[in-house]
Symmetry: C2
Subunit: 364 residues, 2 copies
């Protein structure tokens, strides 16, 4: 079905007008779930936590049930799937962006296979964390309960960040303004209400800095004896920061639409990163106004990454800044892992990994 | 290895003394991960959301980035795995308890297979939600940001509940007091630090009542054209409440250590529930002092469930209240899906389902 902007606008107006019960909202996603043509054969699947600190909190901080005591905070949840074959491929870790969780990489809003399963089917063990502070990783609730109890002023309570659907639409470059899609948009716009459900409150501004997620990613890579790290948006620079903690286990770094390419690294750090295969991808329509006054355009972010790539190259690196539009692939949004051509984008990454990252030596 | 209370106490003291870096904390879980002897063959896996309301919030409520706009709240995240065979078995939905997430049913703290995978290997499609308000389901952050902004007094901010490790230990009946396990405890106490990581802040007291999770479970059962619902602890009565919303799709209700068996149902509601197969399970050491002054003992909760079962039987039902100790199975805790004999307990449930729940008619 060809989707014109006008059609999309009408469609979304219709959805907004009819979504008065949860029945309508949930009907779409479940019914759209697709089943692959062949079974998924896993050597293993499961979940675990990486990192965390055990700390003591007061009864008030714990919410009032029971006495003072210890809990664990800042641990990172990780779900994994390991395929039957592909031992000579590095495991792949996929880290989501702001206000989202590991759901980013799972089934798309319109029910298609996520990158998690696709990469497994391509012979990669896949590890999907929830960033520290979100999803199944939890967060440190103590400050909120202390504010409630009156011992901390409300203004010191960290903000819980959300993006409205109206702000996300142009910022994620689905179209020029909420409800209007670009003619060539790859976004599954009919499932926009399902994408809206993926968002959760983001406590990033209340976390220790640097985010504990970075150390956890480095530790996870070490546990895996080497991994390819794929980030997205707000987690954009996390693979770089994790690699600097332990370069030997960073076998490839893939930054999907990073929120920022760092300008803060020393020349020593750049030399370290220059030895690691690095791929940075951006989608289309990067000059779209973001609709968020404090946010630069994605073209602006792209250009900062161009400078970052130039700096790595000057230090002897071979990073790649990939713009799919130069290969005739148009209309990709900020959520390219969920776009209608998401598997085409995945193939670009898989090809790059196979070309640029080393192979894993397997003990027979 | 035989684990005496004294040994456990020494062990935990040693852990507490040495856990000063995340390296120590994370070392255990990843290294303990076990791989099954045979591959897991899935017809499908993925995730989706059920329910949710789209509402408008202010810039302050959204955390300050962008103008007023719409977000979705009170949706329920669900991950699923469907086996290659077992079409005549009802799908199974597993709902976690307080301060926990769907992680409850995944890999155990000491790295063994979770009930999620075990049930799939036994030919059941498995659906694992995060309760509305927790994990990947997110929560409504607006009140916290309004308190921060000064428009709502701090005392009106809903509490985020956590249980300390010291409170959870006796309440979950691992032993008489924190760090001391019962001689016969089935808890994988060596992995207690890993269990501690599973907990997240619980906003249940800030949710609309009844919890939106109940309607979402009913809607999910309807989408599945019938399901067996397994609850745990705080979600104990959710399957009963969901079944009352749509009895035809409730094919079996399994309450694992329910926090409470309801006394509020009308005779009409009891008659409806009497037509549905219901299993209620409790573990051992139920008369242990909970360590939480406002909490009854689990023996007290067991006795309320005895009365509930008697009421269902008087209405013609055939509910079962299962106490594994009467079958010589000793030492099970509140977290029996993670106990060392977790698969033995799972088999009791699977046997009950096969005996008491109907078979699904399969269109060929």
């Amino acid at each position: 079905m060809k989707t014109s902007p006008r059609r999309v606008c009408l469609l979304l107006t219709a959805i907004a007008a009819t979504v008065t019960s949860t029945a309508v909202l949930h009907a779409q996603s479940f019914d759209s779930l697709q089943t692959a043509g062949s079974p998924l054969v896993l050597k293993a699947q499961g979940s675990f936590y990486i990192g965390g600190e055990r700390i003591e909190q007061t009864q008030v901080e714990l919410g009032g049930m029971g006495a003072d005591g210890h809990i664990t905070i800042h641990q990172m949840y990780v779900r994994y799937m390991v395929p039957q074959r592909g031992e000579d491929n590095w495991p792949v870790v996929m880290i989501h962006g702001a206000t989202l969780t590991g759901k980013t990489w799972e089934t798309t809003p319109d029910g298609r296979m996520g990158w998690d399963e696709y990469f497994v089917r391509k012979g990669r063990a896949v590890y999907i964390p929830d960033q520290v502070g979100r999803g199944r990783s939890g967060f440190d609730q103590s400050v909120y309960n202390n504010v409630r109890g009156g011992s901390i002023p409300p203004a010191k309570q960290p903000v819980f960040l959300r993006f409205s659907d109206e702000a996300a639409w142009p910022n994620f470059r689905i179209g020029p303004k909420a409800g209007v899609a670009f003619e060539d948009s790859q976004s599954p716009v009919e499932a926009a209400p399902e994408f809206s459900k993926q968002a959760v409150p983001d406590i990033s501004l209340g976390l220790p800095q640097p985010s504990p997620t970075i150390k956890a990613l480095s530790d996870l890579s070490a546990k895996l004896n080497g991994a390819v790290l794929i980030s997205h948006s707000q987690s954009g620079s996390f693979p770089l920061d994790a690699a600097l903690l332990n370069p030997d286990v960073a076998k490839g770094l893939v930054l999907v639409e990073p929120g920022a390419c760092p300008t803060r690294y020393t020349d020593d750090q750049i030399r370290t990163l220059a030895r690691i295969p690095i791929l940075i991808l951006f989608g289309d329509h990067r000059d779209n106004a973001t609709g968020l006054p404090m946010f630069p355009t994605w073209q602006g972010r792209f250009e900062v990454c161009q400078a970052f790539v130039a700096r790595l190259k000057a230090a002897g690196g071979q990073p790649e800044l990939l713009d799919p539009t130069t290969r005739g692939i148009r209309g990709n949004t900020h959520m390219m892992m969920q776009d209608k051509n998401s598997l085409q984008i995945a193939d670009l990454i898989l090809d790059w990994i196979d070309t640029r990252a080393s192979k894993r030596s397997v003990r027979k």
